[in-house]
């Protein structure tokens, strides 16, 4: 699922010069309500994940009620097929899901950012080679590829994190690369080069700070995608079934006859929390992006993935 950037020429030219990072985020929050909502949602769930063991009403692994007990005063969200309190399970699941989401995102951003910067800055054959690789990754069907890799490596949380990271770095790389390439042409970079500043220095002092906000937007949106992909992979049985995540909760409900038993409470709340977190990430990420370039407000980045069309760019940027 993709949403192309509205005007490909914009991507090539690069985005407007953003202000310094810390002040930037605050100004975004100040100006856009959506960003505040998004950040609040994310913060809420992160906090919940952190204190879950303390406020969980019951154990998330031991049986505390009857199988598929409906919601009641003592168990607000009822119980699952093992007689485990749903609410506690959702809290526990949230911890793991968020960890997976963040971890996978870190992998994707580190690789993607790194590749994007190297590619955009150094150009030449390194650029061409890396872009070939990203082209392939961008084109193959996400879920099917993840299905295969996760199956090869076996059902485990660690593998799921790596798989999602591998799938998502390519789009980040593309976006960062485009901006780096345009930054490279800026006057102050050229001046720095003329003075004789080394590559590392230029990258760390000049390029990274400018790329920062875009990376931030990317990060937030990747978290949303990572959480989404995790639920899909878990649903297809490619995750360790002994671990509780929002994805495995849904998978267990499906496999263990929740629907035919009428136990809607094993399904409905889970979907809602996933959707809320993803929407939160989306709101925040999009708000940052909008702020980066008002003209880019038309280019809503997908909650699932986004890419710069290979078409993006004219002249030497075109592949």
């Amino acid at each position: 699922m993709t949403l192309p950037i509205q005007d490909p020429s914009l991507a090539a030219e690069g985005l407007g010069v953003p202000p310094r990072r810390a002040g930037f985020l605050l100004s975004v929050l100040r100006e856009r309500k959506a960003a505040v909502i998004g950040l609040a949602i994310i913060a809420f769930f992160v906090l919940l994940a952190l204190i879950a063991p303390l406020i969980s009403p019951y154990s998330a692994t031991a049986q505390t009620c009857k199988v598929y007990a409906p919601p009641s005063a003592s168990h607000w969200l009822g119980c699952d097929d093992g007689g485990i309190d749903m609410l506690s399970e959702l809290m526990q699941g949230g911890r793991t899901s968020l960890v997976v989401g963040f971890a996978a995102t870190v992998v994707a951003i580190v690789i993607g950012g790194g590749v994007g910067i190297v590619s955009g800055y150094f150009s030449g054959w390194a650029d061409t080679a890396l872009m070939r690789v990203t082209d392939y990754l961008l084109v193959i069907p996400d879920l099917v590829f993840a299905l295969v890799i996760a199956d090869i490596w076996g059902p485990s949380l660690f593998h799921v994190i790596i798989v999602i990271g591998i799938l998502e770095w390519a789009s980040t790389a593309r976006i960062i690369r485009a901006q780096v390439m345009s930054l490279k042409e800026r006057v102050y970079i050229k001046r720095a080069k003329a003075i004789g500043a080394g590559h590392t220095r230029i990258i760390t002092r000049h390029i990274l700070p400018q790329v920062g906000p875009l990376l931030m937007a990317n990060t937030v949106l990747t978290v949303a995608i990572a959480i989404y992909l995790e639920t899909a992979l878990a649903f297809l049985g490619l995750e360790d079934p002994t671990v509780t995540t929002w994805g495995t909760i849904l998978e267990h409900a499906f496999e263990r006859t929740a629907i035919s038993s009428g136990a809607w409470w094993a399904i409905v709340p889970d979907g809602f929390v996933i959707a809320i977190v993803i929407v939160g990430c989306f709101l925040l990420g999009q708000a940052i992006e909008d702020a980066l370039n008002p003209r880019l407000k038309a280019a809503h980045l997908s909650v699932r993935r986004w890419r710069i069309r290979p078409l993006a760019g004219r002249g030497p940027d075109a592949i």
């Binding site: 699922m1 993709t2 949403l3 192309p4 509205q6 490909p8 020429s9 070939r132 082209d135 392939y136 084109v139 193959i140 069907p141 996400d142 879920l143 099917v144 590829f145 299905l147 295969v148 890799i149 199956d151 090869i152 076996g154 949303a224 989404y228 639920t231 899909a232 649903f235 297809l236 049985g237 994805g247 849904l250 409900a253 499906f254 629907i259 809607w264 399904i267 409905v268 889970d270 979907g271 996933i274 959707a275 809320i276 993803i278 929407v279 989306f282 407000k297 038309a298 280019a299 809503h300 997908s302 909650v303 699932r304 069309r309 290979p310 078409l311 004219r314 075109a318 592949i319």
Partner: protein, 321 residues
């Protein structure tokens, strides 16, 4: 960039990516721990010789590079191998599966496009209003709910009234008359297609909306308004036409991924398509089916992207500058 240049370049790119896809496909599956033969040969009444016989039969005892060359050669002849699970030609099986998947996916996608464009246009038109907010947020939310969750919800709500699985009423000894059969399949197709629609339409809404917003800000729209044309006509006759360019390319891109995303829907509704086939093949370690299915899906995405490139190229004159 000159036109012909561009087409050739994109075409060449597509071909190379297809070849890379084929190669990586092959090696990816050979890295699997445990192998298909382990399962098949552990049959209580088999002789220990069975395992060896199966290995030889499937060519798994040859060195990898030799298997690879054989694979390439077969592929060139349209032979995708024999399924480990039931000894039938993979191409036949996948073709039959594809024939089941395509109608369902097409229905869902078309519905998603129609719904998405419609809601996007209305949102842009009434920008800032309550309708806009509700519509846009609804689109985002539907997008954010996991596909499988939407499917399960529909199952819960409609299990009694609509068929809960399968592609048609199975227990018919004599073939149905054509139209009745069509109606039967259609009834079974509703839930999976609606799931696909709900999970996909959000992206179309957002893109249409933003594209419309841009278009509506253009000068010629202002001129039309000044001339006194009714708003409705402006929106539908003029603005939409121009705003649809990104939507068109989005459609082409979405089609590629929707085929992959249909896996979830097919699993939930037992829809006998290519997604379900891949899902089953993985558990059975049916290498040829996996390779074939993966290849078909990847190649179709690559080709559709190529088409999208061409289409975009034709429609957007800025590219040719």
């Amino acid at each position: 960039m000159r036109g012909a240049d561009y087409v050739i370049k994109r075409g060449f790119f597509a071909l190379v990516t297809i070849f890379v896809a084929i190669t990586i496909n092959f090696f990816l599956f050979r890295v699997l721990p445990g192998n298909a033969v382990t399962d098949l040969s552990r049959v209580p009444h088999a002789s220990p010789a069975l395992r060896h016989a199966l290995l030889t039969e499937f060519g798994l005892d040859k060195p990898k590079w030799e298997q690879y060359l054989i694979y390439l050669n077969n592929l060139a002849h349209g032979n995708m191998g024999i399924s480990f699970a039931n000894q039938q030609p993979v191409s036949h099986l996948l073709l039959a599966d594809l024939k089941n998947t395509i109608p369902m996916v097409t229905l869902g996608t078309v519905a998603a496009i129609v719904l998405g464009v419609f809601t996007g246009v209305l949102s842009a038109w009434r920008r800032g209003s309550a309708r806009d907010h509700v519509s846009t947020n609804l689109a985002i939310s539907a997008y954010a709910f996991p596909t499988q969750w939407l499917g399960l919800m529909l199952l819960i709500l409609f299990a009694g009234t609509l068929p809960a699985g399968g592609m048609s009423d199975p227990f018919l000894f004599t073939a149905e008359p054509f139209w009745q059969h069509l109606a039967d399949v259609g009834k079974h197709m509703i839930l999976p297609a609606v799931t696909l629609m709900l999970t996909t339409y959000g992206s179309f809404t957002l893109v249409t909306r933003s594209s419309m917003l841009e278009t509506l800000g253009e000068d010629y729209i202002l001129t039309a308004r000044a001339k006194g044309l009714p708003a409705r006509r402006i929106v539908w006759r003029h603005a939409v036409r121009n705003a649809l360019l990104p939507v068109v390319t989005l459609i082409a891109l979405e089609l590629g991924f929707i085929v992959g995303g249909a896996v979830l829907v097919e699993v939930i509704f037992s829809w006998p398509g290519i997604g379900l086939a891949m899902y089953s093949a993985i558990g059975q370690r049916d290498y040829p089916m996996l390779q074939g299915g993966f290849l078909i899906l990847t190649v179709s995405v690559i080709l559709l992207n190529f088409l999208a490139d061409l289409f975009y190229f034709r429609l957007d004159p800025r590219i040719t500058a």
